[in-house]
């Protein structure tokens, strides 16, 4: 099942993107440990500068713990518009080389340079050029991973971070994967890693030794993925412009709340935020999902699909409200989130489907 032609995939990952942008725009922050995110009791670090990482500050870490690890830490409020602006400039650099660019987020993207606009056969040189251009045009550094599929490219980009790159040539692939620590595999998180450890799997080599049946038995659907990926098979294509499947927002509260009246207030804010984002990306959706994280960290989702697309905060809030009152809260609530899916951007090839269908509503008799 190997594709006819060996692909050349680059994974470009900006180095501490949000934090670097802040240091770039505010030279006073240069060389200092900074964290982008909220500094409040329940705030979370969205990104940390390399200076801060030395102290063990990581993204997704609670701000309180971060501050404890690094008392000098400077908190900066995120400015997503600015990040988006720079991200777009970087994306334009990618497009000079290929149209097959799949952005993963504002600071990461896959590029398929098997066929590229410059006719350069060396993906490693292209990666080098791209990184140089990013530095010239934005003053920011990037790391890159180059290999035969997205999986290996992504793992490789982490190898010589920051401001470095790593190429895994086709012949090096088996060795590279065998030597790879299991927790570095993309798609293996903390929980899976522990499970792997218990099964005696610590490296790619261990994983490769396991049979397909063994993996299926222990990891279900993901078994096939692990089995193939460790053999260098990852056929997922670089999909230009990922189609958004859902759009959501959530809030962790300063303090756990148990009164639904207070929750409503939060839902109103969240709905507002979603409306803003929907307007920006000009989409609407049919399915509203309410996410509730209780104080004991158990997660619950409730969703409702409407006959029509909605995009205004009033309607989102109304549906979310219904979901909120649908059932009693099991516990006090730590986090509430709303997401909208079944977006009208889906099925772009089915023109008929996409045609606007207005829905006459009925009384609820």
């Amino acid at each position: 099942m190997e594709p006819a032609k060996q692909r050349k995939i680059i994974h470009v990952d900006m180095d501490a993107f949000y934090a670097s942008v802040e240091q770039l725009d505010n030279p006073g922050l240069k060389g200092k440990p900074i964290a982008v995110g909220g500094s409040s009791q329940r705030g979370v670090v969205a990104a940390a500068s390399y200076e801060a990482r030395k102290f063990g500050v990581k993204s997704a870490m609670s701000s309180v713990i971060a501050k404890r690890n690094c008392p000098e830490l400077i908190f900066v409020k995120p400015r997503f518009d600015r990040y988006r602006e720079i991200s777009n400039r970087i994306r334009n650099i990618f497009f000079e080389y290929t149209d097959l660019v799949e952005p993963l987020s504002l600071d990461e993207a896959y590029l398929d340079v098997t066929e590229n606009k410059k006719g350069n056969p060396s993906a490693s040189l292209i990666a080098k050029e791209i990184r140089q251009k990013i530095l010239d045009k934005t003053g920011l550094t990037a790391s890159a991973g180059i290999s035969i599929n997205k999986f290996i490219a992504k793992v490789a980009s982490d190898y010589n971070k920051p401001n470095g790159q790593k190429t895994v040539n086709p012949e090096e692939v088996p060795e590279f994967l065998e030597a790879l620590e299991i927790r570095k595999f993309y798609g293996v998180g903390k929980v899976t890693a522990e499970k792997m450890y218990r099964l005696g799997i610590f490296t790619g080599k261990n994983l490769k030794e396991k049979s397909r049946e063994f993996l299926d038995e222990h990891f279900g659907k993901s078994g096939e993925y692990y089995y193939q990926v460790v053999r260098g098979i990852h056929l997922s294509e670089v999909k230009p412009s990922r189609i958004r499947k859902s759009l959501g927002a959530e809030r962790t509260f300063e303090e756990n709340i148990s009164s639904e009246v207070f929750m409503l207030e939060r839902l109103e804010n969240i709905s507002e935020e979603i409306e803003r984002r929907l307007t920006k990306s000009k989409v609407a959706g049919k399915t509203v999902t309410l996410k509730i994280k209780y104080s004991d960290f158990t997660l619950q989702t409730r969703s409702k699909t409407l006959d029509y697309y909605i995009s205004s905060k009033g309607l989102i809030l109304e549906t979310a409200k219904k979901l909120l009152y649908q059932e009693k809260m099991k516990n006090s609530v730590r986090l509430l989130g709303i997401s909208l899916s079944n977006l009208n951007t889906e099925k772009p090839d089915e023109k008929e489907e996409k045609k606007e269908i207005a829905v006459q509503l009925k009384f609820d008799f």
Partner: protein, 372 residues
């Protein structure tokens, strides 16, 4: 059996009664008028089994009898006569002979016994209402009733009588009208669903009428009696939907606008709307109402701006222009108020002026969702 009657007087009554008769009757006897003569009082009846209407006419006679006369034939003949006395004589050979100034006409009749009897109401409750008020109540509501055979209850008008007021409601699940009169009341609580056909007949007869209508009703039938006319009909069986529950309680967005201007804008703009949804879009910001419609299939588009007085958040809401047009046409106020909350909740249309003492009209219309 013999009687003499004025031709135009008879025609007028028969035309009213003729409204009951269906075009295609499975029961041939229903194609007839029933004539019941009792000296100088002639009672004429027409029926479709569901509804039976009778009128008493004063004639010149001293005989008695009961026959069924072909309705179409008689009406067609009467229409051609100028005012004159007509003589009807029942002959032996099952015909009734009609003599005019012009000549003689023989109509075959059927026996009066074959004609179905109107149901008699046992232990009815009753209330009285002025004819014109009833006609108004009917015409304000009936247009909103539905035609869905699957929901027969919504194909009629709901009469809700209480010791405080009388309420009339009609809905087809998309629009709803509630018309109530606080100046009239019933002796006790009662609710029933009247079918459309007898209501249309009553509306026709009673509009502008000063006469008092006696409404009697029980579980399954209702009887309307006024002057010399009686209408008895079967009620629609079933439970009327809980309409109060769908009237939104909190409507922070209130629009007040000239009814005539609003109506003509909606009418004009709707010409450009999609031919299946008839959707017009109302966009309200500040004191401006923007009405627009678009038929994407044909690239037709229209937009109008009106000045209005508005309290609330800027909003956009879509409605079926046909419903809006019907509702606005049905009101006779100079200014109307449209209350809204969210684009997926009913809009409430009420007249600002032009109501009689004790009269109240509430119209609801469900939106058409704007899909973008």
């Amino acid at each position: 059996m013999k009687f003499i009657v004025s031709s135009t007087y008879l025609l007028k009554q028969l035309q009213i009664l003729g409204g009951v008769i269906n075009n295609n009757n499975t029961l041939p006897i229903l194609d007839n008028f029933l004539f019941e003569l009792n000296n100088d009082e002639l009672t004429v009846s027409a029926s479709d089994l569901e509804t039976t209407m009778s009128a008493k006419l004063q004639v010149e006679s001293d005989s008695e009898g009961k026959i069924a006369v072909p309705a179409r034939l008689l009406l067609d003949t009467l229409k051609t006569f100028p005012e004159q006395p007509l003589t009807f004589v029942v002959e032996d050979n099952n015909t009734i002979e009609l003599s005019s100034n012009h000549g003689k006409y023989a109509l075959a009749y059927a026996g009066g016994e074959e004609f179905p009897k109107a149901v008699s109401l046992e232990e009815p409750s009753s209330t009285k209402i002025q004819g014109d008020v009833l006609a108004t109540a009917i015409s304000k509501t009936i247009f909103a009733s539905g035609n869905d055979d699957l929901r027969p209850v919504m194909s009629g008008v709901f009469f809700q009588f209480t010791p405080q007021n009388l309420t009339f409601v009609a809905t087809d699940a998309h629009k709803l009208v509630k018309y109530s009169r606080d100046d009239i009341s019933a002796s006790e609580n009662a609710e029933f669903i009247m079918p459309k056909k007898p209501l249309n007949l009553l509306k026709g007869i009673l509009s502008g009428s000063d006469s008092e209508v006696l409404i009697e009703y029980n579980e399954s039938n209702a009887r309307f009696t006024f002057e010399d006319t009686t209408l008895v009909c079967r009620l629609i069986d079933g439970k009327y939907p809980n309409y109060e529950a769908v009237i939104p309680k909190e409507n922070p967005n209130k629009l007040v606008i000239d009814r005539g201007q609003f109506l003509s804008s909606v009418k004009r703009v709707s010409i450009f709307s999609n031919k299946t949804t008839h959707q017009v879009r109302l966009k309200i910001a500040g004191a401006e109402l923007n009405i627009s419609a678009e038929d994407v299939d044909y690239s037709n588009k229209a937009e109008e701006r009106l000045t209005c007085s508005y309290q609330g958040d800027d909003m956009q809401i879509g409605f079926n222009s046909r419903f809006l047009t019907e509702m606005l046409t049905n009101l006779n106020a100079n200014e109307v108020q449209l209350e809204m909350s969210l684009p997926n909740r009913a809009g409430i249309l009420t007249p600002v002026d032009g109501l009689d003492e004790g009269e109240k009209v509430t119209m609801l219309v469900m939106p058409v969702m704007l899909n973008n």
